[in-house]
């Protein structure tokens, strides 16, 4: 049977159901499921409520951290939570009274009345904590990993929202094995790729784990992917920090995303909640809308989204507006019709049209809020472009500071400073004066954020002053000609497309009006920058031999080529091929043209759109997967969870 790649990726849902079923069916009794609220949306991608009912769940509740749900004697309570230590501890504290109630008679171990399912994995030390809480024997723990959730054509997500924080800010690798498990499942379904390129420590670690987990059984179908690309988020922060110019990207800038769905809520959108309430200026806005509507970012469910998702925002919003007009005209036709015609029309066409109209109106509403919220988008883009190309550094700092004062956004203003640090380097003294103003604006309690972001490499590290004579030397204003690591790599990989010396200076002036360059994946950032993932994909797809690839990727540290169980740098791999050329053939050019891209620490829509563009250009198919989808403000927000 011929199963397309798209079908297989959707098939992850079946495996997730199978896994959940195995857990639920292993638990006897009258079952009630208590879900952590954040799990509800992603779980909808796995199964429906009726499916759960079919598996013996009688009722489903939202978990409330404040109080425990009372239980009847014959009921079994199954809690489902994220594997976060904090959440887990709260739950244990809630269940604590159980340990007291139990009388001397030994409970029947087979019939435990409480179960906790941890997503994506029940950490080993959770058992130890359970024992300490005196709940061992009363509560049973389970792993549950739903693996990849198919959000849209070419977009997969593990829906693990706190991974970036754990991995990059706290250096805690607890979630890596679960990710490796999911990649392993991908290998079981889609086969092993001929080659895997990793960029960054966590990515290399994932490959190591994948091997340590053991071999996988052969899939029933021939392999689908020619190559995998696994990269760390911190190797390309810029594509997350820049404001995207495409429709899907901007929707995510303004609206909250929950498992592939955005909530179009004007009163509580992402931009508004970032500002200080007192300095918001106009306070009256349309609050009369009863319930905020939702848009599913899935091209199969929403053709309007499908048509516009990776288009330039200006183009997309004018298309939506045009469509609203066209639909209005279409509905007006009704007035000029004969009665019979009308009957037919109402019966056949009208329901579809009204449904379409509802969808279009939702998009219209969303894009209007985006326009309103972004305010002076052109100014922001010019600022970002100047930051990216390091044009008149001094002015950039004053401009960011002015933005902080007059339009202070908790995450987005900081995001610009981080971008500046990556592209031009921010000196500790400069950070100091910015941080003072920032703390004045958003409170002294945010002081920790600067340390957190420095941890991630997004801001400079502040060093304590020691009262030694060496201080004098370091205080001398020596000119620095150092390039930041980002700039060095970006130049090597030709990611910056709007530099003065580049061949296409066209992009500079033509901000949001109409996309100037349509032949380059940098259109996702208005022709300023090509996301690293897209550039590596096109290099992989266009490589004619390992040697050619090795020269292109020369001088870039942290890249590894994995062929079979061997890991080496691209250069070493090419050299190895030369010496032992007879027995193993070069994997390049790729025989299978499909690529799988996995970003450790959250992908963004600009990346996805750029990869989509590359795939159309090269006739390949690129699937982008990650632990979650992030906008730039979400990434910065991770540093605030203290």
């Amino acid at each position: 049977m011929d199963v397309t790649l798209e079908k297989k990726l959707q098939g992850f849902q079946l495996v997730a159901q199978e896994k959940l079923q195995a857990i639920l069916c292993s638990i006897p009794g009258k079952k009630e499921l208590i879900l952590e609220p954040e799990l509800i949306k992603p779980l909808e991608h796995v199964c429906t409520a009726s499916w759960l009912k079919l598996k013996g769940i009688q009722r489903i509740y939202k978990h409330d951290a404040k109080q425990r749900l009372p239980r009847d004697d014959d009921q079994v309570h199954i809690y489902m939570i994220r594997s976060l230590l904090g959440t887990y501890q709260t739950l244990l504290r809630q269940l604590q009274p159980l340990a007291m109630q139990i009388s001397s008679e030994s409970p029947d171990l087979e019939l435990r009345a409480y179960h906790i399912i941890c997503v994506p994995s029940c950490y080993g030390y959770f058992h130890a904590l359970l024992e300490q809480a005196g709940l061992c024997g009363l509560v049973q723990l389970h792993h549950y990993n739903w693996d990849f959730i198919y959000l849209d054509q070419g977009v997969l997500s593990l829906e693990l929202p706190n991974l970036y924080e754990c991995l990059y800010l706290q250096g805690n690798s607890s979630a890596l094995p679960a990710m490796a498990q999911s990649l392993r499942l991908l290998q079981m379904i889609c086969g092993q790729p001929a080659v895997t390129l990793t960029f960054g420590n966590h990515s290399a670690q994932l490959m190591h784990l994948l091997q340590a987990l053991g071999t996988v059984p052969q899939p029933p179908n021939p392999p689908d992917f020619g190559a995998w690309l696994i990269m760390d988020r911190d190797k390309d922060y810029v594509s997350t920090l820049l404001t995207p110019a495409i429709y899907a990207g901007l929707l995510l800038e303004v609206f909250q995303l929950r498992a592939g769905e955005i909530v179009v809520d004007n009163a509580n959108n992402k931009i508004r909640t970032q500002k200080l309430h007192l300095l918001q200026g106009k306070t009256e806005y349309a609050t009369n809308q009863g319930k905020p509507s939702c848009i599913r970012l899935n091209s199969a469910c929403d053709e309007i989204y499908g048509d516009n998702r990776y288009k330039h925002f200006a183009q997309a919003s004018s298309l939506v507006r045009a469509q609203v007009k066209a639909l209005g005209l279409e509905l007006q036709k009704l007035n000029d019709m004969q009665l019979e015609e009308m009957h037919d029309y109402v019966a056949r066409k009208l329901p579809k049209l009204t449904e379409l109209k509802a969808k279009v109106l939702r998009h219209l509403n969303a894009s209007e809020i985006v326009i309103q919220m972004l305010g002076n988008f052109r100014r922001l883009q010019t600022l970002e472009e100047d930051i990216l190309n390091n044009v008149s550094r001094k002015r950039l700092l004053t401009e960011i500071d002015e933005l902080l004062t007059t339009d202070g956004q908790r995450f987005n203003t900081l995001r610009l400073l981080c971008l500046l640090h990556l592209c031009a380097g921010v000196a500790p003294e400069e950070l100091q004066s910015f941080a003072r103003n920032y703390c004045n604006m958003f409170g002294h309690r945010e002081l920790c954020v600067f340390q957190q972001l420095a941890q991630a490499g997004l801001l400079p590290v502040l060093q304590p002053e020691r009262k030694t004579s060496a201080k004098l030397l370091s205080n001398l204003p020596l000119p620095k000609f150092q390039q930041t690591e980002f700039q060095a790599n970006a130049n090597r990989l030709k990611l910056l497309t709007s530099c003065a010396d580049s061949e296409q200076p066209a992009a500079a002036g033509s901000a949001s009006g109409h996309p100037a360059i349509k032949s380059c994946p940098s259109f996702v950032f208005n022709g300023m920058y090509i996301p690293l993932a897209a550039q590596l994909c096109s290099m992989l797809l266009n490589a004619t031999s390992s040697e050619q690839l090795a020269t292109k990727l020369a001088m870039i540290e942290g890249l590894q080529v994995h062929v079979g169980a061997q890991a080496s740098t691209p250069k070493a791999y090419a050299a190895h091929l030369k010496t032992a050329s007879t027995e193993n053939a070069d994997v390049f050019p790729l025989r299978l043209r499909n690529l799988f891209v996995f970003v450790v620490g959250g992908a963004n829509y600009a990346e996805i759109a750029a990869c989509d563009f590359v795939s159309k250009l090269t006739g390949a198919q690129i699937t982008v997967a990650s632990d979650t989808l992030l906008a730039g403000s979400d990434l910065i927000a991770a540093a605030f969870n203290h």
Binding site: K8, Q10, G11, L14, E18, K19, L33, T48, A49, S50, W51, L54, R59, Y61, K62, K66, L85, S121, C122, G124, Y125, A128, L141, H142, H143, N145, Y150, Q170, N172, S173, L176, P177, Q181, L185, M188, L209, L213, P217, N221, H277, L278, G281, K282, D401, E402, T406, A435, R436, C439, N440, M441, G443, H444, R445, L447, L462, Q463, P464, E465, R466
Partner: protein, 468 residues
Amino acid sequence: MESQFDNTDENYWNRSSRAAFSFDDEEDVDLGDVGARTKTGQASQSSKWDNNEIFNDDTISEASFDNSAALGTLNHLSIKAILSDEALKLVLQEQAVDDQVMPKGVTPEEELKLLRRQIQSTLYSPNLELTAQRLLHGKVAPLEMFKSLVEKRKLLDAVLANGGDAIIGVLLFLKRTLNVTQFNGILQQRPKALEHYLSYLRQCGDVSNYIDTLQRFGRHQEAALRQFQAALSCTDMATRKQQLQRLIDAYASAGVGIIPLYEQVFHSALKLQLVLEKEPLGDLSQRIGDNPTPIEVLYACCAQNKNWKEQDMLKISSPQRFAADQEISPAQYEWTALNERAQSQAYADLECIFERVSGWHPLKSKQFHISFDLTLAVQRLFELQAPATVLQLFLSKMSNSPEKLVLAQRVKCIKAVIDAMVSMKQQQELQQLKQTLPDRSEEQFYCENALKALQSKRWTTDNIKLKL
């Protein structure tokens, strides 16, 4: 993709998510919503729970039942087509937490062998690889037989090489079975392990232990930050102040070096506490919560300030004094005051905010001074519906006439439009503008006068004028 979330089904989910997925279709749908229930009060709760009886089948769940039968074959895709039986079995096996079950149908001899091996590895020589492997797969693995320090270290290094939650698991085991000196010694040599341990302490909310560990391993700056945070999160004002004071003293005298930013912010936080203690914030206090930011307090100070001409610098809550104490930048001060005064419609005070007496030359008259882009000020004032005269005042400070014209047109300030046109000598445009203005309106007079002045000026040519 469409079929798996059939329309009716999706509606059901949305509906039921509101009703907390209770299958009951009873009148009190939010029964299952534990969050909503808390508000109804403790007393009525138990009775409410009794109401919540066994579910009764409703039509909606029947409908989705039909749909879910088809779920097994997603678009006629069966799981067998994508995953072999063997692989599926493996996946399900790997999901299980504990697989220490004796396989069925083994001969007694084999069983004996298996048991022997198990005893061997539990009691005498621990199997390092096997344990690491089991931990990696997320299985329960006994660690108690790792007795000697060497074995413990090896175990930790093995899980460190793999990464994952096992690191914290093993660390907690080590902490339990080693004394503090040994445990810290192990952490000292393994920075990655230390990161994991710190992350564990942080996530489990054990603040004092977290801070101690940071200090012990020489990360004093981070420790100071955490202490600062802990101090600020005290709900009681007195303890908050006390803790801040203690932190400031300790930070200055610890001799571990000082980061100026931290020191400054610690001091400002304490000063802010003192202001909050002495000066009640008035009606604004509800709007800004009990942990306000300096700018929010400044806003409140502005709202309470009566005398803008001569601010009382001895009073800690007069805006200028407060801004100076908190090192609020001039731009931030001006922007906050502008917003507050405009919101309170006290436009007359704006002039005082934006004027500076030059310090070195007291005789010189007061000058207009603004620390951010004038355009932004005008736009914000317009947004806050300031009257045209106020807008004109600000627009008159703009030196670039074309920009001024554009902005004035945008904020519909006719007089400023006229001014800009005059300075650009656009007579024709002025004439046109005059015709659009309502008859005998103030603006029309203004426009006429401007035109007259412009025309008469033509005869008093500049080059004849004496330069004084």
